[in-house]
């Protein structure tokens, strides 16, 4: 049985349904991220687990105990807020000790636990400071320590890094993940930053308009997106519009050029319009057939299996530092592809006719007529 179990959870505000039929099983010690754009229902779902919102229907269980109707102060769930929510009138130590004092723990135990938590977040010398005397990153660490001090069964983090600058965000997310691993605490992390979700999570729940689009490991979500939304929201993606030729063989036609998809297209009929997804890093650029064969043979020792080829014209070349992004136009469709910057080679020129090749398994026909 799952440690945290959300079954058929829904939330309505009047006539508006903000969370539709949400089912999720989270194992003990697992790190699960809710990923989606603003207004997709991820924070509402998290707040239902915290007890700040009551589900309209469904049940939430922690370790088999139904907590759906319990007050937030009866759930033993720790929460870290986007705006830190530290108590401005209390010192760092008092903030961390707050939950323990509420629980009437002995003062010796409180003191030891506060010291332990401040050591864990690497701020042992800042116990006497007030929140306004700390940087944003330090405040968020204190908020994390405060949430963990009460030894919660589940840790909830609501976009905890979104108010911080990029560098601190990266270092703090690594700290959060390593802390979560070392404590083995079951964690739900809400974010709209796909890089954050991909780098931290055991599993990701991608949400859109109150619905779960896909649940899977970061690898599955990125490499095998089930819907067009997941494919476009997670990572950069080329969406190509075409028509199905042979669903059983996975054959489609895009701008008059025949291609094969990763698998048979079960949900579409021959002649139906379809959308196919291709990651920029999956495509290679070749100026001649010979160059293409050489490149395929040497590419990371991969065997040069059957590949799709499309002939087009370079429309745009963007130098992004370590990567050069090249857009190749066919007719209606265009593909952006990334190549590593090579200081000894000049990037190809605009207007050049080239061949774009990619493995069949990298071309994904998306679900739904238009994906």
């Amino acid at each position: 049985m799952a440690f945290l179990d959300l079954s058929d959870v829904r939330k309505n505000y009047g006539p508006n349904t903000v969370v539709h039929k949400f089912d999720l099983d989270v194992e003990r010690g697992e790190f699960v991220s809710f990923l989606g754009p603003s207004g997709c229902g991820k924070t509402t779902t998290l707040r239902m687990v915290a007890g700040f919102e009551v589900p309209t229907a469904g049940a939430i269980r922690i370790d088999g105990r139904d907590i759906t109707r319990l007050r937030p102060n009866q759930r033993n769930v720790g929460m870290v807020f986007q705006s830190y929510a530290l108590f401005p009138n209390m010192t760092v130590a008092d903030n961390v000790a707050f939950g323990l004092k509420i629980a009437n723990k002995p003062s010796s135990e409180i003191k030891a636990r506060v010291e332990e938590m401040l050591n864990i977040i690497k701020l042992p010398h800042l116990g006497g400071r007030y929140p306004y005397q700390l940087s944003g990153g330090q405040q968020q660490r204190v908020a994390l320590a405060r949430a963990l001090a009460i030894k919660p069964q589940v840790l909830l983090l609501d976009e905890p890094l979104s108010a911080l600058d990029a560098k601190i965000r990266v270092s703090l997310r690594e700290e959060i993940r390593s802390l979560q691993r070392s404590l083995g605490i079951t964690t739900i992390y809400v974010t709209h930053d796909q890089e954050e979700a991909l780098s931290m999570s055991d599993r990701i729940v991608v949400m859109n308009e109150g619905r779960v689009e896909q649940i899977g490991t970061p690898f599955e979500i990125y490499n095998h997106p089930r819907t067009r939304f997941v494919a476009s929201f997670v990572g950069t993606l080329n969406i190509l519009k075409g028509k199905v030729v042979d669903p059983a063989a996975g054959k489609i036609v895009i701008d008059g050029q025949e291609l094969f998809a990763s698998k048979r297209i079960a949900h579409l009929q021959a002649g139906e319009a379809c959308s196919a997804a291709l990651r920029p890093e999956a495509a290679s650029l070749h100026q001649s057939e010979l160059q293409e064969a050489a490149k395929i043979a040497s590419a990371f020792g991969r065997e040069s299996g059957p590949r799709n080829r499309m002939v087009g014209t370079i429309e745009e070349v963007s130098f992004l530092g370590s990567v050069v992004r090249i857009r190749v136009r066919f007719k209606e469709n265009a593909v952006s592809l990334d190549t590593f910057n090579n200081p000894n080679t000049t990037p190809p020129a605009r207007g050049m006719q080239v061949t774009v090749s990619f493995a069949r398994e990298d071309l994904l026909v998306l679900e739904g007529a238009e994906g």
């Binding site: 915290a50 007890g51 700040f52 007050r71 937030p72 102060n73 769930v77 720790g78 929460m79 807020f81 705006s83 830190y84 929510a85 530290l86 108590f87 401005p88 009138n89 707050f98 939950g99 509420i102 629980a103 007030y130 929140p131 306004y132 700390l134 944003g136 405040q139 405060r146 949430a147 009460i150």
Partner: protein, 261 residues
Amino acid sequence: MKQQKIGSWIAIIIGTLYFVVPLIGTFEFSLRMRRGEYSFDAYRVVFADPRFQATFGYSTLMALLTIAVGVLIVVPTSYWIQLRLPKLRPLVEFITLMPLVIPAIVIVFGYLRLYNTSSILPLTGSAHSTDLLLVFSYVALALPYMYRAVDTGMRAIDVRVLTEAAENLGARWPTILFRVILPNVRAAILSGAFLTFATVIGEFTMASLLNRPAFGPYLQLIGANRAYEPAALAVIAFLVTWACMGLINVVGHGKQIKAAP
């Protein structure tokens, strides 16, 4: 640019003269009780008058009770509106502004009709119950100042998130209100309290019509019968008011608890 500066200075000078000249005049007049020389005789007389001590003490007590009742009414109201009923804010703001629009004399006549000795709730029946009525009427009178001060303080902190954070850590409502919210709006409450004190200490209409021995009616009585003492009392009342304003500043800028950025 230079013309703008000169204009500003002229405005400041005119404003200062408008406020300061009458004060200086009153103060100067209060010192002229002894013929031919300046002295503090008028102040000595005022401070020696047992009625001054009694009325000032009474009004101070009334002010403190008004502050206590006002805080008990306004803080939870403002907190609840901020947290759960933000749509009611315009209505509550309108209600709290009523005492500024309706003259005190109208309010007190309303009280006398509602709470006279032949009513269901005869609050004017005894001295103590009339004191209670006076406190409630002062609470209504000071409501615009107290509510605005507390509401501004509540808006300065993120009441909802702080409440949720405390609740998440196991706290119940009384703990949240007294250990998390109140300390963070302490400066705002004290501002409201000092404004209330300044309003109540010299209030005349309600105390006079309810026939209570307050400082306001005493000021009026002295003003009607003496020459120099009313000027001294005016200066004293002015100093009390300004002391309250000063305390608001001290409290506001002293050990200020800033919200986390």
